[in-house]
Amino acid sequence: MASLSTPTAFLGTPSPIDGISPADRLGLVRAMVLSRVLERACCELNPRWFPAEGEEAVIAGAFYGLRPDDVAAPHYRGPFLAYAMRGASLSRLVAQSIGRATGYARGRALGFTGPADLGFVPWVAGDLGTTIGVATGCALGFHYEGSDRVVVCTFGDGTTNRGDFHEALNLAAVWKLPIVYVCQHNQYSISLHSSQVLPIESVAARAPAYGMPGVGLDGNDVFAIHEAMRDAVARARDGRGPTLVEARTYRLGGHWASDPGGYRHPEDEDRWRQRDPVPRALADLVDAGIIDASGVESIWEEARDVVSRAVALAQAAPEPGAMDLGASEALAASGRDDRQRDPRTGPPAGADAWRE
């Protein structure tokens, strides 16, 4: 695992692409493309969608390859890719984003919540940071049962200023819990640049406060991120405790789809647009001879196709009705709910994100 890097090292890390198999490299990049297309569709359908454009490398790199029995707690920005990589139906996700009854929460929860039964910490309220504590609790459950399941939890740079970030990482460090914390550092909290609200450049510098390894990475290099995650996940699985990974990227879109902006320099946006992680990752694949130019085109084609089918299905789905409002489901007084599913089978999670 890379050690704590200084901020200036961010873009200098050489991509460790060689450590990842060609199939997984392809899987990672296909996931990024899917996210790009899916997110754009959500933005078009819902002006209040929170676009993850530009941040795909972090999301793909963080969640790719988790076991189905692991738990993922994705940040609210861009979680659909994480859901899709672990088996969610694209059309139900799009339905969720536009509030249809076929969404995973029957219209009850926020548009970016996910399929809780696929091993996610779902978004059930809007308070940022609190889910880091819940994710840490899932890791406590795994540690308690002595299993080798792990949790991967992502969050924004701004969210690391919340007290709940501190308390959760501290607790995980004290108990050496099997969790990897990933800061999806896009340099913004709504309209505020991180230099206005974060007193440090690198969030990885918060790791030593917990005696935890901190890893600062180029957040636009999906292979570097995934390589670091493999190490950190292995570390967690082995009982060696938590890691804080920081992936520094840039929010290419607005805070929400219809954000009028105006609080940042167009030159900055242009500069980061040049570093767009999606074409960069595709180019890496071409350079490595894994695909050729027509392969690139067909990945995009496929993504557009699968997403447009999902959109059509979602749009055809009904709005939630009174039935979906419901009272809280009746709970048998002594009912137990064994929701652990059997793990360790099939291809790496994330490789089949494209269903439907």
Partner: protein, 324 residues
């Protein structure tokens, strides 16, 4: 007379006090260049600069703590928690610090701060939680929830001048409603008084926030049927102005209490219980409460619409309380 929307009233109230008193400042997330969530501080940074309109990290507890401390050393901070849904993240500063300081220091200290926050259903449906009943339960806090543009401005001014910690709840649905006539002069807002928005003789409807407007709409719809509602805007939720409600009930003999928060354990419970205690013999029929049903607040429009008390719910309740 100026014409102002609710949010313009809020901003005008802050501007008025910031001009008058250099100790008044605002802090919150995105309150500067962006103009605040839903335009809630639009124009202030341009006039007062970044020193007095301060951007904060996402750390609600520190934000409120910062306001408490600044107030203790003589400043008049307004701290903005973007949405009431985030109040659970900073309860100890509000309830254990701000609320206690005056009493526990035997009057040596005061905490002249305003905590403003957005609540209720809104055009974007986000963060709608209404936790005002929690704060009304805690001694040492004032709790306000204006429902008109004039009150938004004048209550803000009064809250800033008050030496008590004030929780100021701004209903999102009212933010960008139609502009109202608002007197040019800032009025003296009585922090201890509810407002009778419509006098009436048959049924008292005591309501908060957006529900005040729904109650007025219900009154309009019921007029042709010869039913004459008195609509009270509770607006000062702590201390509650029970005298105004009691006076009305003594006249009408019938009480409906309506709010958007969950009915169970809401402000309506206190109003209803207090009136049952003090005006038992004046009541001709059982009081009726209207509030949200007892399950979590759903997010999508169809469910939200089914969840939140409506004009029809008010009409129903009025008819029930008259039939009884």
């Amino acid at each position: 007379m100026a014409r102002m929307s609710f949010v313009e009233g809020l901003v005008e109230g802050m501007r008025h006090e910031m001009r008058r008193d250099p100790d008044v400042f605002l802090m919150g997330q995105d309150v500067g260049k962006m103009g605040g969530a839903m335009g809630g501080s639009r124009g202030l940074i341009e006039e007062f600069g970044g020193h007095r309109v301060r951007e904060t990290p996402i750390s609600e507890s520190a934000m409120v703590g910062a306001a408490v401390g600044a107030a203790l050393v003589g400043k008049r901070p307004i701290v903005e928690i973007s949405f009431g849904e985030f109040l659970p993240t900073c309860m100890s500063q509000v309830v254990l610090q701000a609320a206690n300081l005056h009493y526990m220091t035997a009057g040596a200290l005061t905490v002249p701060m305003v905590l403003r926050t957005r609540v209720g259903d809104g055009p974007y449906r986000g963060h709608p939680q209404c936790f005002e009943a929690w704060f009304a339960h805690v001694p040492g806090l004032r709790v306000l929830m204006p429902s008109t543009a004039a009150d938004a401005r004048d209550a803000m001014v009064a809250a800033i001048r008050d030496p008590n910690p004030v929780l100021f709840f701004e209903h999102m649905w009212l933010y960008h409603g139609v502009r109202e006539d608002v007197p040019d002069e800032v009025g003296s807002f009585d922090l201890d008084r509810a407002a009778v928005r419509r006098p009436g003789s048959d049924v008292t409807v005591a309501a908060t926030g957006w529900m005040v407007h729904k109650a007025l709409e219900a009154a309009r719809l019921l007029e042709p049927e010869g039913i004459d509602i008195e609509v009270i805007d509770l607006r000062t939720l702590a201390p509650l102005d029970l005298d105004t409600v009691a006076a009305s009930v003594r006249k009408t003999s019938r009480l409906v209490v309506a709010h958007e928060a969950w009915k169970v354990g809401g402000i309506g419970a206190e109003v209803t219980a207090a009136i049952a205690e003090s005006c038992f013999y004046d009541l001709a029929a059982p009081p009726v409460r209207i509030g949200a049903p007892h399950f979590p607040l759903p997010m999508t429009k169809p469910l939200r619409d089914a969840f939140i008390p409506s004009v029809e719910d008010v009409i129903d309740a009025v008819k029930r309380v008259r039939a009884a």
